[in-house]
């Protein structure tokens, strides 16, 4: 601090540059090594998830539209349709379910080699399907399937491959490149974190601000409400909401996650903002605004907000780390972002399978590491910001 001890105005040189509080905070932030590491790390991750997926082929992007199970089912059904076979609803349903099972649970090499298709569907089924065709129906179906899957970006014959030159982080159970999914999934995870943190911060700031500024009955009501929200056990509540939202199409499940995380985590910030505003209102400069006849709008936006902004920024940063973790937790339980859309959480979900857990480390360790790196760098950044923005230091 550059406090001028002497009251004599002449002793302060005009050369001393005026430094605003934000400038000081920035200077202090620049000196904070830990915060810089966190900030740079986070920036690199953000850049990575934006740029890296763009390097991959367009085909891979299409795997995001369907998962292999659905892709196979619709491929087969399409080709049946082409051949003019009539399919009743019941058959269609069992067909879909069985393929889903195959794709989710079995190993694709086995699937190809052991003619599982023939095991799954009785000769009668298949005859029925391809009435009139004599040749090995199982093979025909398989070929049709693979041709069409490749068109959708899946390379099932290339599934479960360890890291190699072509696939730096190997391939997953459905033959998709893990590195692509890792960074594309990073987009999803970061977006979930960013949006939830935004929602949390907006709700928390508004509720806490109104509560602290207007006080009285409104304050009492809002704070009781915050307590109620806070006393909702997070995990069971999330599980219920996510389960109830199952009908939401998979590309929108991430919005559900954002909504759930945002709605349930604002009370903490609301309390902090309220406390800050209450203590600011006791400060004489706020009483001065009243005696000077400054309007309410100015009092809120020029006097109160800039003084709580530091807390809001810090809490937004830290909240983002929390939201990313929550998303991972939910997706790991199969309740968050739904495949085929990847997220770090649902990528780790693969480790539920003991073979994957023991033998295919490349499928679940990278997303785990990414979550860890992101949360750590976000938290370091947040703590650095907290130190840099501490308003007590710029009195």
């Amino acid at each position: 601090m550059s406090e001028i001890k002497n009251d004599q105005t002449t002793t302060t040189t005009p050369r001393l540059k005026p430094e605003g509080p934000w400038k000081i905070a920035w200077n202090r932030f620049k000196k904070n090594k830990v915060a810089l590491v966190g900030g740079t790390g986070f920036l690199l991750i953000v850049l990575g998830v934006i740029v890296i997926p763009m390097i991959f082929s367009f085909n891979l992007w299409r795997t995001m539209e369907l998962d292999a199970g659905t892709a196979i089912s619709s491929t087969v059904l399409d080709s049946l349709d082409e051949k003019g076979v009539e399919i009743d609803e019941e058959f269609e349903e069992t067909f879909f379910n069985r393929f889903d099972e195959v794709v989710r649970q079995s190993h694709f090499e086995d699937f190809i080699e052991q003619n599982e298709l023939d095991d799954l569907y009785t000769q009668e089924d298949i005859n029925q399907l391809f009435a009139g065709e004599a040749v090995g129906t199982g093979r025909i179906i398989r070929e049709t399937i693979f041709v069409n899957l490749r068109a959708h970006g899946f390379e099932l014959e290339n599934s479960d491959q360890p890291p190699s030159r072509e696939n730096w982080l190997g391939t997953d159970r459905q033959g998709r490149d893990v590195m692509f999914r890792l960074f594309y999934g990073g987009r999803i995870s970061l977006i979930v974190g960013l949006l939830s943190a935004t929602l949390t911060v907006s709700l928390g700031t508004v509720v806490g601000g109104v509560s602290g500024y207007y006080g009285g009955k409104l304050d009492a009501f809002l704070m009781r409400f915050a307590e109620i929200v806070q006393s909702i056990p997070l995990l069971p509540m999330m599980i219920s909401i996510s389960a109830a939202m199952r009908w939401v199409p998979s590309e929108r499940t991430l919005l559900v996650v954002v909504f759930v995380v945002g709605i349930l985590s604002w009370p903490g910030l609301a309390r902090v903002v309220r406390g800050q505003i209450l203590s600011l209102r006791e400060q004489e400069f706020m009483q001065a605004t009243e005696i000077l006849g400054i309007s309410d709008v100015s009092r809120i936006f020029r006097h109160l907000l800039p003084n709580v902004l530091a807390y809001i920024i810090v809490s937004a940063t830290l909240g983002m780390g929390g939201a990313i973790l929550l998303e991972a937790g939910l997706s790991f339980l199969g309740l968050g972002v739904q495949p085929p859309m990847p997220s770090w959480g649902n990528m780790i979900y693969l480790a539920n399978n003991s073979t994957v857990f023991r033998e295919y480390l490349w499928m679940w360790i990278p997303p785990g590491v990414m979550i860890m790196l992101t949360v750590v760098s976000v938290n370091l950044l947040g703590e650095g910001l907290r130190d840099a923005l501490d308003p007590k230091e710029i009195r």
Partner: protein, 323 residues
């Protein structure tokens, strides 16, 4: 004939306090039946121990608080129940200088905004004149023009109080309540700020209600002095009279507590004994009776009237003049 600027009549300010959820709400009698008159151009000092209600009285007069009872007549208008719109107008005539040089300035605003904000809010200046006006005012308050872009943390305590004074002067008021403006400053800086305030008073034609717990500060700047005890003014008179001929036992005790440079003068009384009573359950009768060495039975029952015992010498004691 002296021109009245402010008349305070039987003003009370009680704050509700709730101790415990199911208990009857209690009241802090921060200001309890205060009456006095102020004249244009004078400085009225207000002294009293910390917690006796000086700040509350000052803030009630400038209508930061609404009085619980009584009237505040400012320039022949009863302002005690004025609301938002009229109050905003009043702000241009009455201002408040705060005690704490640290919390009284917004740390995120520079001097230009701190001092100039109110001028713009009241549309007193155009945007073009604004910066010149700010420089003009802060220079009158002993700061330099290059200070306008600085932030509070770049100033010393004394300089910050100067900014606080400049902010109050920006609206060009006639009447200023100065709530312990130098109490937080080093003694060496105190007199600089006091002298500056004295100079500004003549230049701007101000009247000050000057609050302090420090008798020597009040003596330095005031024309008349009021002494407060437990929410009430118990003695009010000219500076010399108060120091030479205090009539209330509490004032006498205060005077005795000042270090006496002349050893031949014998102290009339030792320092006051006992604790200040609570301002929730105030003593009956004369509020000072729990600590007064001259207490008689009547003091415990009847509230002594605040009367003009001699010309311009007001006192609230049953036995004033006889002690």
């Amino acid at each position: 004939m002296r021109e009245k600027i402010l008349e305070v009549k039987n003003v009370k300010k009680y704050f509700p306090v709730n101790i415990g959820l199911f208990k009857k709400p209690l009241q802090v009698k921060a200001v309890d039946d205060v009456s006095f008159t102020m004249y244009k151009g004078e400085t009225l000092g207000l002294v009293g121990e910390s917690g006796c209600g000086k700040s509350t009285l000052g803030r009630t007069i400038v209508r930061l608080y609404e009085p619980t009872a009584g009237q505040i007549i400012f320039k022949d208008q009863d302002i005690s129940t004025w609301k938002s719109h009229k109050l905003k107008k009043l702000r241009q005539e009455m201002q408040l200088i705060f005690q704490d040089p640290y919390s009284s300035l917004n740390p995120r605003m520079n001097v230009n905004s701190i001092v100039g904000e109110a001028m713009l809010a009241h549309k007193l200046v155009s945007k073009a004149e604004y910066e010149d006006r700010v420089v003009d005012i802060i220079e009158k308050c002993g700061l330099a023009s290059y200070h306008v872009n600085r932030y509070p943390h770049q100033f010393s305590g004394g300089q910050r109080q100067r900014i606080g004074v400049a902010r109050a002067l920006a609206l060009n008021p006639e009447f200023i309540v100065a709530d312990e403006p130098v109490s937080a400053l080093d003694v060496s800086v105190q007199s600089q700020v006091l002298n500056m305030m004295n100079g500004l008073k003549d230049e701007f034609g101000l009247s000050y209600l000057f609050i302090s717990h420090d008798l020597s500060v009040v003596k330095h700047i005031s024309d008349r002095i009021g002494v407060m005890y437990l929410g009430s003014i118990i003695e009010l008179t000219g500076k010399r009279k108060l120091y030479e001929n205090p009539l209330h036992p509490y004032t006498m005790a205060l005077m005795a507590a000042i270090p006496e440079p002349d050893p031949r003068k014998i102290k009339k009384m030792e320092a006051i004994k006992g604790e200040i009573p609570s301002n929730i359950n105030t003593p009956s009768g004369c509020k000072f009776h729990t600590r007064c060495p001259y207490v008689k039975d009547i003091c415990k029952e009847e509230v002594p009237e605040f009367r003009e015992l001699e010309k311009d010498h007001f006192v609230a004691c049953h036995f004033a003049g006889e002690i």
